[in-house]
């Protein structure tokens, strides 16, 4: 194997020491805002960023899940074991990323493969969630590619869930808004990488500019091909304009082997049909948003404190000792 290697990803790599990305992006860098007729035209273009998940380096340790919970201050349920390694068993409003495990018997090599994929928001260049969203300003995209949910604008209609080709967003029964991975927009905004990448012990998750990540992926793909994975490749699906979370796969010809990763994701036709980039439809979106609000209220009843809310609040209070030292929870702020 050649000793010529691509430069190390500069951010979010715990070892060797990190070098911060150029810091700073904010509302001025928005390129798309949900359900808004006038899309912004920012004065500058940020360098597109990406998280690269090398499935072949992943050991399924769930440090990324843990870091995600810690950074986002979520409190997922302690569930049961249902006969598999996935815990929680699916993405939830409190678990934005999830290791998914697939036992694959490769008939060509006669070997068992345990394919472990970190699932979560792909941060599509052409985000189906944003296009489907009827609530003005609830979903936004920055010029670096990050797709973020603005919870105070979310009406909880769940259209983003059906608009997502990857089945990622999850509706919270606690505050009736939708949650997903933010690509740690709050960390990236100050020049750091995502928490999951920081915690990953094997550098299976790395973060940087999209170009750097692609170069890094090429090196990894060459290594995999040298080990007999002839179909190794990068998952950066064109159907959604490419993604800002990409995978290196041993079997890039069969993404669906990896616990349902879509082979060729596209935004559902219905979403495209009524969310085209025209003013007319934009206006229709506003109307729909209003309908959505009504539907939301009808469907979900006025916000009432449930037993679940009470218990979670109790947990938070219990955890906060002394009480004034605990920062407000992100989803309550």
């Amino acid at each position: 194997m050649s000793t010529e290697t691509a430069s190390q990803p500069v951010t979010a790599v715990a070892n060797p020491p990190t070098v911060p990305l150029a810091a700073g992006f904010d509302a001025r860098d928005l390129v798309r805002i949900s359900a808004t007729t006038q899309q912004p035209t920012p004065e500058r273009q940020l360098t597109p960023v990406a998280k690269l998940i090398d499935v072949s380096k992943c050991i399924g340790c769930k440090a990324c899940q843990t870091a995600c919970v810690e950074w986002n201050d979520t409190i997922p349920e302690i569930e049961e074991n249902v006969g598999v390694y996935e815990n929680p068993h699916d993405l939830t409003p409190d678990m934005f990323t999830l290791m998914r495990f697939t036992e694959y018997e490769n008939e060509e090599t006669n070997n068992l493969e345990w394919l472990i994929r970190k699932d979560g928001c792909m941060h599509c260049e052409d985000p189906g969630c944003l296009k489907a969203c009827p609530a003005p300003g609830a979903i936004v995209q920055y010029s670096n590619g990050i797709v973020d949910f603005i919870h105070e604008n979310c009406i909880g209609c769940g259209y983003c869930i059906s608009g997502c080709p990857f089945d990622i967003p999850r509706l919270s029964q606690r505050d009736h808004t939708v949650y997903k991975c933010t690509l740690c927009s709050d960390r990236v905004a100050v020049g750091q990488g995502p928490a999951c990448a920081k915690a990953c012990p094997t550098q299976a998750i790395v973060f940087g500019t999209k170009d750097d990540m692609k170069a890094h992926a090429e090196e990894r793909i060459a290594d995999l091909k040298s080990r007999g994975y002839d179909n190794a490749g990068l998952y950066d699906p064109a159907g959604v304009g490419g993604t800002h979370v990409m995978y290196v796969l041993h079997h890039a010809d069969k993404p669906s082997l990896y616990e349902g990763l879509p082979d060729d994701p596209v935004i559902a036709g219905t979403v495209e049909a009524w969310k085209g980039p025209t003013k007319t439809i934009g206006l229709a979106a506003i109307a729909l948003a209003a309908v959505g609000s009504i539907v939301h209220n009808v469907m979900t009843r006025p916000n009432a404190v449930s037993v679940n809310d009470e218990r979670q609040a109790g947990d938070i209070v219990d955890a906060a000792a002394p009480p004034d030292s605990t920062p407000p929870r992100r989803d309550q702020a």
Binding site: T5, N87, L112
Partner: protein
């Protein structure tokens, strides 16, 4: 570890066998990923289960639990047969050429000298032939049929690939493919690293498993070189420190030994520790034993340790048995011979075999003191938790005192990692509530005890009354004070023996390292192998310079590594007889014509001429041992033995159960099962999501892996009618547990002796305290027997049965 974590990046081939590095050591495993990514290294995993390590391996092979020796001896046989031997290394740096006594032999699975009644060997014949000069006889041509090499060849001859397959269940084609991959590293410019852990130690012949691989590595020339080595992945933060500091009943700090009652005085004790070289001109570094021992005694008892008092030798307890290991302690407790048990950083109710016996034993104590940062099952052993701890509190009279202690992140000190690095750390948080450091607690107990001896007297009060305790605050010695004590200092001014006018160390100053220690009482040192860690240069353990010239991975200025800041042990063996690097692409140390120099601290006297002084300076032979003489209780070569509970009889000797010299307590024999009653093989292990029984207290870890489960093959599930996610009962002759079933393709039946062997995998992270769901540990099921040499319990191979559980468990 002979090498370090960071050195793994230098390897060409990683074999993970007897461990699950990605799962149990995910942070250290990054160096395997690094070797794969930037060196193109390959990874082999041999394990009963397809583990998370296997998920990123280039080659995986299954193996029946407890048959590693057969696999490894088969490997050695294959290397010899196919001439994949590093001949220069074997001839020069091992004892291959040494002649073995004529009366040594092996037959029916046993070496010469076996006494069935005593369950022990008379090891007299397990030795070299010696000349009249006292040196061992050798045949450098390796022609003599009694030379170690030919004895080894004969010993491994039976381990053909077919024989190995029959015992281990490892498919022959996979075995042979792995042999080819390993064989490539016999070249001087290729190395393999062995990463192992409790998958090898937790057997009744655990030490021999490890020796098997060590011998293979020596034959391949992979010891003492970059990217090579025998790398024991230690399972707890600072468990390496525990062993180094001698926290075992038969050890003193720095691997000095506790005296036995056969050594009533200093002279007798030292007589058996002369370590006379067995070959001319060799170092035999343990000849310095008395310097380390006297300095240790001075650190303990100061002015009371003098030549006249035999250095206070009579203060030391004298062992009447080989060791008071934990199995023996709980056996004694079970017999009612123990009144008080101090349990510091230890959770034996879940960590020791045969939990039912442990519960009974703890109930016979008068007082149990538990020092721990967390609630432990041991401290609550008397509390009823339904099926998870089904005891009657009213029937238990043991008084339990819990002393909350700080955790690692709340106190200052050093932690020793697997690679022998002492890394200083500072508190990151203030301890909650009334928690105190372990040092404070021990100091309080000591001061009160000493006061009682002062005022009330007692039997042999001197060791307590005269214990050195000169700390600024006697109530709480600081980590720095203790560390400086371990480094050692001059008690009187030390001068250069060749030039008495030249002062080496002023009285009261820290010694530079253990080369300055004396056996005349002029130095003190708490732990000679740590000497150099905090000398007059300051706290070397706190160094944080991560520069690494030429990317060798040695990181000489990061923290401090024992001994002498040496990063790769036996590194002299990386150079040839002329002192040149054997692999010019990976130089480590070399002879520059006058002295040794290089990237690492040479593991040889720096002026020792190459070609004369051999690399294995701790051995009186100067070379490494393929034949280990009488150093181990169960044989000078590893030989296949079945676990105490096994689905197969020993193919060499159907009368032999388990390790024929492993200690077995009478009351435990009747609790060993046969495969007629218990047809399946149980094995225990960790999961990445948890650390032992600690992290179940943490909500986030509990979310990641909430509930106790066992893993079985699809075939066994079908045979027993078990559904994925269903509840099952797993039981052995000692106990029963209930668990969720994970039905997986990652465990497959193994064909051994023509019959399928099913494995039941049992992870170990659940109990009845903490945030996770209540569950059981595998120790409810495991047998009460340990390794013949070091008594590590046999947790990795035992017999169980399994069935679906009717109805739902009691929550």
């Amino acid at each position: 570890m002979t090498n370090s974590w960071t050195d793994i990046k230098n390897t060409d081939l990683v074999i993970v066998m007897g461990g699950n590095a990605a799962e149990a050591h995910p942070c250290g495993f990054k160096w395997v990923t690094e070797a794969k990514h930037h060196r193109g290294a390959k990874l082999i995993v041999v394990d009963p289960r397809f583990t998370r390590t296997a998920s990123v391996a280039d080659m995986y092979a299954p193996i029946r639990p407890g048959t590693d020796i057969a696999f490894l001896m088969g490997m050695i046989r294959w290397m010899i047969e196919n001439d994949k031997v590093d001949w220069d290394y074997v001839k020069n740096f091992t004892n291959a050429s040494f002649l073995v006594r004529e009366d040594f032999g092996w037959q029916d699975g046993l070496f010469t000298g076996y006494d069935e009644g005593k369950r022990d060997y008379d090891k007299a014949s397990w030795d070299y032939q010696f000349g009249e000069d006292g040196y061992a006889l050798t045949d450098p041509t390796l022609q003599d049929p009694r030379c170690v090499w030919n004895m080894l060849k004969a010993h491994v001859d039976v381990y053909t690939p077919e024989f190995v397959e029959n015992i281990t269940g490892t498919p022959r084609d996979k075995f042979l493919k792995i042999a080819e991959m390993i064989g490539e590293t016999s070249a001087a410019d290729k190395t393999m690293t062995s990463m192992y852990a409790l998958g090898w130690t937790q057997h009744s012949k655990g030490s021999q498993n490890i020796r098997g691989m060590a011998m293979l590595q020596l034959i391949l020339g992979n010891i003492g070189v970059r990217g090579g080595g025998m790398n024991a992945l230690r399972g707890h933060s600072n468990i390496q420190g525990l062993t180094d500091i001698g926290l075992m009943s038969n050890l003193l700090p720095g691997y000095l030994n506790m005296p036995t009652e056969k050594e009533p005085d200093w002279t007798t004790y030292m007589e058996s520790r002369q370590f006379r070289p067995l070959m001319e001109g060799q170092t035999s570094y343990w000849q310095n034993y008395s310097k380390f021992m006297v300095s240790f005694m001075k650190s303990m008892w100061g002015d009371a340790a003098t030549p006249e008092t035999d250095w206070a030798y009579h203060y030391l307890p004298k062992l009447d048995v080989p060791a008071y290991d934990m199995l023996r302690m709980f056996e004694l407790m079970h017999q009612g011979h123990v009144n008080i048990y101090f349990c510091q950083g230890f959770n034996p109710l879940l960590a020791l075999s045969n939990r039912g016996k442990n519960t009974e034993a703890l109930a016979k104590l008068k007082l149990l003191v538990v020092m721990d940062p967390l609630e432990t099952e041991t401290s609550r052993f008397w509390e009823n938790h339904g099926i998870y701890n089904d005891v009657d509190p009213a029937a238990i009279q043991t008084e339990v005192i819990q002393l909350p202690s700080t955790c690692f992140a709340e106190d200052e000190g050093s932690l020793v990692n697997s690679g022998r690095w002492l890394q200083w750390h500072w508190p990151g948080a203030t301890a909650p509530g009334q928690a105190q450091t372990d040092v404070w607690i021990m100091a309080q107990i000591f001061l009160r005890l000493r006061e009682l001896y002062r005022t009330e007297g007692g039997v042999v009060p001197e060791p307590i009354l005269n214990l050195t305790w000169d700390y600024a605050d006697p109530n709480e010695p600081t980590a720095g004070e203790l560390a400086r004590e371990m480094n050692g200092r001059a008690l009187t001014t030390l001068t250069d023996p060749n030039d008495p006018s030249k002062v080496l160390v002023e009285a009261g100053q820290q010694v530079l390292n253990f080369s300055q220690l004396k056996d005349d009482g002029s130095t003190m040192c708490g732990n000679w192998i740590y000497s150099g860690s905090w000398n007059e240069n300051g706290n070397n353990m706190a160094r944080r310079d991560n520069s690494d010239p030429d990317n060798t991975g040695t990181y000489q200025n990061w923290a401090w590594s024992w001994p002498m800041n040496r990063r790769i042990l036996y590194n002299r063996a990386s150079a040839d007889l002329d002192g040149n690097p054997r692999d010019p692409s990976r130089p480590l140390i070399w002879w520059n014509g006058e002295r040794w120099e290089g990237y690492d601290v040479p593991d040889i006297a720096v002026t020792a001429p190459p070609g004369q002084v051999m690399p294995f300076i701790m051995n009186p032979e100067g070379v490494s041992r393929l034949f280990s003489r009488g150093m181990m209780r169960d044989g000078p070569f590893p030989t296949h033995m079945e676990p105490f509970e096994s689905p197969m009889q020993n193919v060499f000797n159907d009368r032999m159960r388990g390790n024929p010299v492993a200690r077995v307590f009478e009351s435990d024999v009747e609790q060993f099962a046969t495969s007629e009653e218990f047809p399946f093989v149980g094995t225990s292990y960790r999961l990445t999501e948890h650390f032992h029984y600690w992290t179940k207290h943490n909500r986030v870890n509990a979310v990641m892996q909430p509930e106790f489960f066992v893993e079985i093959s699809e075939e066994l599930a079908a045979e027993r009618g078990i559904a994925r996610g269903g509840m099952v009962r797993v039981w052995s002759k000692r106990g029963s547990v209930q668990a969720k079933a994970v039905v997986t393709k990652r465990i497959k039946p193994l064909i051994c002796g023509g019959k399928p062997v099913h494995v039941v995998g049992i992870p170990l992270h659940w109990g009845f305290t903490g945030a996770a769901r209540k569950g059981f540990g595998p120790n409810t099921l495991t047998p009460f027997v340990g390794d013949a040499n070091i008594e590590t319990p046999e947790f990795k191979a035992f017999l169980v049965n399994i069935e679906p559980l009717a109805g739902e468990p009691i929550a």
